[in-house]
């Protein structure tokens, strides 16, 4: 079982300030990485550098491709959820889930099932007047639309009540069982099975 | 061949146009140089304070 992603002595400097320095880790399928750090410690920049949105100064990010060797360019889709959660206020809860890339060709009842699974009943409300917790549930529902090898989630547990936190932990466990791995960031260590990393 | 001062200056009535062009040309050049040097001094002063 080869790791899906290898990060080797990654470091990035922004206008004379070191954002992060020689970060090394590997992500095995079904295994989680948790990046712990205070606000502005470069967690989000690290996630976006792994995704290729931002260029790093040193080090390299190697993705496993189909014939089991590593190259810089990722050959499979991965899932990214940033702080803004990518939710459109003018769309209803159902539309926010249905009108995304990963839900192409998905029958209606399956989407309804997903929404119940994450505890969202008000299907036709506009996303504008939803609480942060409910918006996070929509974002979490998107995890289940398609199976991704690697999920990169920015602070999944922030601003959540206990019920929602439990829900997310179950989902992560369930997807781990299916071989999906998670890279998540947070202020304090959460109680999911993951190898922690300070930044 | 233009000779004689008045012939040069008046240039049968169009003198001012030609000389105003020359003055504007020199003005723009000097302006460019002056801003470059002023900026240089400002940077050097801030470097000294570092």
């Amino acid at each position: 079982m080869l790791p899906n992603l290898k990060v080797e002595n990654l470091s990035s400097v922004r206008s004379e300030k070191v954002i992060f320095d020689n970060i090394n880790f590997e992500v095995m399928p079904g295994q989680n990485i948790e990046i712990i750090g205070s606000n502005g410690s470069g967690k989000t920049t690290l996630l976006r550098t792994i995704l290729g949105l931002i260029n790093q100064d040193k080090g390299q990010i190697l993705w496993l491709d189909d014939n089991d060797n590593y190259n810089k360019f990722r050959t499979f889709d991965c899932f990214y959820q940033g702080h803004q959660l990518g939710i459109k206020n003018l769309l209803t809860v159902y539309e926010n889930l249905q009108l995304t890339k990963n839900s192409i060709g998905m029958p209606q009842e399956e989407i309804y099932k997903l929404l119940e699974r994450v505890g969202l009943s008000n299907i036709n409300d506009f996303a504008a007047n939803l609480s942060v917790g409910q918006r996070k549930r929509i974002a979490v529902a998107r995890w289940l639309l398609k199976e991704f090898k690697v999920y990169l989630i920015d602070e999944p547990f922030s601003a959540l009540d206990d019920k929602a936190t439990l829900l997310i932990e179950d989902l992560i466990k369930e997807l781990n069982a299916k071989g999906c791995s998670f890279i998540i960031t947070g202020h304090r260590p959460s109680n999911i099975l993951a190898s922690r990393m300070e930044i | 061949m233009l000779n004689g001062f008045d012939e040069v200056f008046i240039m049968d009535g169009n003198g001012p146009y030609v000389w105003s062009c020359l003055v504007i040309f020199i003005l723009i050049l000097v302006l460019n140089i002056f801003t470059a040097l002023k900026r240089k001094n400002k940077i050097l002063k801030s470097l000294k304070k570092l």
């Binding site: 050959t75 990214y80 803004q84 990518g86 | -």
Partner: protein, 225 residues
Amino acid sequence: MMQSSISDWLTIILRRDLIIAFRRSSTYITPLIFFLIVVTFFPLALGPQESLLSSLAPGVIWIAALLASLLAVETIFSEDFRDGTLDDFFISLEPSFILVFAKVLIHWLITGLPILIASMIAALVLYLPFESFIPMIFSLLLGTSFMSLLGALGAALSLGRSAILSAIIVLPFSIPTLLMGTSVISSSLINQDFSGYLMIMGAMLAIGIPGLCLLTVEALLLNYE
């Protein structure tokens, strides 16, 4: 199944943004109204004589169309940039400049098309003879789409900064479109052959679609550093 995912994704983006646009009706009303207001200013300012207005009509229609299509340019990327959906364009494996082209297409549908419709009313109001209606429609069709492309680049360069900046950046580059567009209508007024101008506008559009979209992707990536 690479191919199907791009066309499916494009249709999803188009459906999503059109639903949002129609929910917030101001997005396609304001360019329309702005275009008509600018057109009605000219007879008010210059007097309503028919001969004067019909000779000025090509220029007036085109200037109003250019300014109106630049009006809504700010909204192409700013909303998606703010709520994070723009990140998916660059994370996915699909070429991002096709997705940027989808956003430009939506902007054209929301602003270019209404302007095209409103230009008929403007042509009537400015006593433009009937036989040059068709050339006007064709020239505006090509012109407003090129303006949407150019506007997308301006919006990408000035994302998060003032909207006026994207207009100042884009207007000098829209002069060929303006000149070609007005010459199409004015040469159809004196029933000369105007196909040459249309061909040039078409060529500019053909080069603009890949070229400007690639540059817009580069400009958007700037905001991620």
